[in-house]
């Protein structure tokens, strides 16, 4: 066995130890900024979650008007309170699209009948594929997309009443 090959494991070990020492010296900052802010929405085309509503695709998002994309599910409890806040946003003229994750149309219909329906379109994402491509790891999450289809803001967790002015401000900036 050649000499350099025999010393390779040692070199590798040193490299790893240096990286680990660095990590021990600089504790991780767990606050992860969204990767997708400033980037266009990834291409997708989802079937309609309800027969009464149109389908949702990435092309529907670049129409000149900023809008909110809300990732939700009928089985998600925080979504129940969030959807009421979304209603208020809708009343103030905000366009809201929904992506229903791992859900079924009769459940979604029941959810909307009970809690109100702020959505213009709802796409059904049964395997969470679009959710993952958007960099979202849970429900609910929301994105603000500007008129060119560029993601301006990612909101993790439910939009609460106290977030409304902030959301309206972000929408204004995206105009």
């Amino acid at each position: 066995m050649s000499r350099s090959l025999r010393f390779a494991p040692l070199a590798l070990l040193l490299l790893i130890v240096v990286a680990l020492v660095w990590r021990l010296a600089t504790p991780a900052n767990t606050n992860v900024p969204s990767k997708l802010e400033g980037k266009p929405v990834p291409n997708f085309a989802l079937p309609a979650a309800l027969p009464s509503k149109p389908t949702l695709s990435s092309a529907d998002l670049a129409t000149g008007q900023p809008r909110v994309i809300n990732i939700f599910a009928s089985w998600c409890v925080p979504c129940v309170t969030e959807v009421k806040v979304l209603q208020e946003l809708k009343v103030r003229g905000v366009a809201i699209e929904g992506i229903a994750v791992r859900d079924q149309s009769q459940d979604i219909a029941g959810f909307l009948a009970r809690n109100g329906d702020p959505y213009e379109r709802i796409g059904s994402d049964p395997q969470s594929r679009v959710q993952i491509s958007l960099g979202s790891s849970g429900v609910p999450e929301s994105f603000i997309v500007d008129g060119k289809g560029i993601i301006r803001y990612q909101h993790i967790g439910p939009i609460e009443q106290s977030d409304v002015p902030m959301i309206l401000g972000k929408l204004e900036q995206a105009r």
Binding site: L20, V77, F111
Partner: protein, 644 residues
């Protein structure tokens, strides 16, 4: 007094370990006769650590809240079994368990090992002593398990409820025995590199340790996977979490070592490679312990970050692994390779096995540490998850599984028999499996489909080594190999079925509502409050039926008071063809309940396969021990000579 006695035993053991290490230098430098002294010291050292560990169990069993560790991890209202298991369900206790196993393994080597040369044994015992010494220092300086609290608090803070599970009593000790069992292979390899006696005798001395450690790692990983499956409530059996990877990496290295050690034992070949693997296997155990204990990587096994302990463990890791690698680099050149072999032979089959396992190990290692490297260099944050591991390691594992079917049919040195002809039947079975999956399930993904095909091939090819001879006269070790390889096929089929056919249903349901999942109709019958010894819960009663008969499942959400935590207790009903997995979650303001339902066809095969793999290892172990007993007299002769 009990805690102080434990602490005193630890200090004494540390002193003996240091002495044992010094004796090794003395023996290797000059020809002073120290074997008997070293054996005796190693045995006493093992007994002292065992005593310290027993003292820790005792203070936990008696809920002695004046001991800080008991206060922080136990509560007087806990069931007795979790009081005892709490002793190793925390940092200090688990490190004491680790060093106890290390020292006891050293004592066993000292008592029973008589296959290696004497100088290699001395060097190996010295290496084991210096390993133990570092971890004693770690315990005594940075994480004393016996520290007292004054005044003693009235009651403890309780144990993390996720860990209050019978699995905890069993899972960490099993994995630790496996991790630390590999330390003997490490020490013997270091010893042999020091003395230059890398030969088939060394391989035979190492083999039972590697095999034993590997069996326990297999069991520990299988049990851990099932624990995560039912306790975390998300229905997955493997999450590629850094801590899971920390247990998988030593297993992969040990699997490779287990195979290459056979080449060294039978043919005297692959010397340098086998020594390297022996070093790597235990190094991976230490890397795993470091990753888990330093809390350096984000994980569901959220342990607190502690820079002091992390630095200490990292220093130990760097010193031990670094020293072994330097030794390897310096001495590796002097190793002469043994008997040559041809391109198609049992040896080359095992070399390919080793290469693929090592590449998978590299992939897992890279994936686990990659986020760290990227952030160190570019400051960018990212995480590596299942998509990477499945896409990269999955196909390689499939290729390996095909070769597992072929390798054992090859003969040593040079292949003369028509192996391809032998493989016609397995190939036919694999083709049939392909046709069946295409007809019955045209829409499944490529990896699950290949999984079924390879599993069918391996199941058929794996039993061929028994088919060509009288199976009752085959050595037990051959049976062990066949059972373990068949276990791989079984686990693979389970993974493929789980990936291809799982149906999932998430919904909010009111009482009386019916939901479909797979072939099942599940009705939420009722939701009631209930309570246990140290928790309260809401319990759903689900009535599940498919065709005839109703099965009642009762999933719970439990609320623990000390510390305040909420856990999901999934209710799982097992059938011959799969599991119905149900979880109840939060309530919705309108009076509904969050339900998560899965129908997982043949998912149990995954763990059944894991158990078969471990059983195969156990059979091989039994076979080896059996042969050792039959050769008993000659061994006794040797021992008499060496003690004389």
């Amino acid at each position: 007094m009990i805690a102080e006695a434990g602490l005193a035993a630890l200090w004494l053991a540390a002193g003996l370990a240091a002495f044992q290490f010094l004796l090794m230098f003395l023996a290797l430098r000059s020809d002073v006769e120290v074997t008997r002294a070293m054996r005796a010291i190693a045995i006493v050292q093992g007994a002292l650590t065992l005593l310290a560990f027993a003292m820790l169990l005792l203070v936990f069993a008696r809920s002695d809240m004046s001991v800080e560790l008991v206060f922080a991890n136990s509560h007087s209202a806990k069931p007795f079994i979790y009081k005892v298991a709490g002793a190793w369900g925390n940092h200090e206790g688990s490190m004491l368990m680790w060093v106890t196993i290390l020292a006891v393994a050293g004592a066993f080597v000292a008592s029973f090992s008589h296959r290696t040369g004497e100088r290699t044994l001395i060097a190996g015992l010295g290496s084991q002593a210096v390993l133990a010494l570092g971890f004693y220092a770690f315990l005594l300086i940075a994480s004393n398990p016996f520290a007292r609290l004054f005044p003693a608090p009235p009651d403890g803070q309780g144990l993390n409820p996720l860990l209050q599970d019978p699995g905890l009593a069993f899972h960490p000790p099993t994995l630790y025995l496996g991790y630390v069992g590999l330390s003997v292979a490490f020490s013997l390899a270091v010893g042999a590199l020091l003395t230059g006696e890398v030969d088939s005798r060394l391989a035979r001395a190492m083999r039972p340790w590697v095999l034993g450690a590997w069996i326990l790692l297999t069991l520990g990983i299988t049990a851990g996977s099932y624990w995560a499956y039912y306790e975390l409530g998300w229905g997955g059996y493997w999450f590629w979490d850094p801590v899971e990877n920390a247990s998988l990496m030593p297993w992969l290295a040990a699997t490779a070592l287990l195979h290459s050690i056979n080449v060294l034992a039978a043919r005297g070949a692959l010397k340098a490679w086998t020594m390297m693997l022996a070093v790597i296997a235990f190094s991976m155990s230490m890397v795993g312990t470091f990753l888990v204990r330093s809390g350096i990587l984000t994980s569901v096994h959220a342990f607190a970050i502690d820079p002091e302990r992390g630095t200490f463990l990292l220093a130990l890791l760097a010193i031990y692994v670094g020293a072994a690698f330097i030794l390897f680099a310096v001495r590796g050149a002097t190793l002469k390779e043994g008997a040559p072999f041809e391109l198609v032979s049992r040896e080359s089959g095992l070399v390919v096995n080793n290469l693929i396992l090592s590449v998978i190990l590299g992939i897992v290692f890279l994936g686990t540490l990659y986020p760290l490297f990227v952030e160190a260099i570019s400051g960018e944050k990212l995480s590596v998850g299942a998509p990477y591991f499945n896409a990269v390691a999955g196909p390689l594992a499939l290729v390996l599984a095909v070769l597992v079917g072929i390798g054992p049919l090859l003969s040593w040195r040079r292949e003369r028999r028509p192996v391809l002809k032998l493989l016609r039947i397995p190939a036919l079975i694999a083709a049939t499996a392909l046709a069946i999956t295409i007809i019955l399930a045209p829409d499944i993904g490529i990896l699950p489909r290949l999984g079924f095909v390879v599993a069918a091939f391996l199941a058929a090819a794996g039993i061929l080594p028994l088919v060509r001879r009288n199976p009752f006269r085959a050595p037990l070790a051959t049976w062990g190999m066949v059972v373990a390889h068949f276990g791989i096929a079984v686990a693979l089929a389970g993974m493929a079925a789980n990936a291809a056919f799982t149906s999932e249903r998430l919904a909010i349901a009111k009482t009386g509502e019916r939901l479909n999942v797979g072939p099942w109709l599940v009705q939420l019958h009722d939701v009631t409050p209930t309570a246990g010894k140290n928790w309260t819960a809401i319990e759903a009663e689900l009535h599940a039926s498919r065709g005839s008969g109703v099965f009642i499942l009762k999933p719970q959400t439990r609320y623990f008071s000390d510390p305040p935590t909420e856990t999901n207790e999934a209710a799982i009903e097992t059938f011959w063809n799969g599991q119905l997995y149900t979880v109840v979650g939060k309530s919705d303001p309108s009076g509904g309940w969050q339900l998560r339902l899965w129908w997982k066809p043949f998912v149990t095969l995954i763990w059944a396969g894991g158990a078969l793999i471990a059983l195969g290892g156990a059979l091989a172990m039994l076979g080896r021990l059996w042969r050792l007993r039959r050769r008993g007299p000659s061994n006794a002769e040797w021992r008499k000579k060496s003690y004389a």
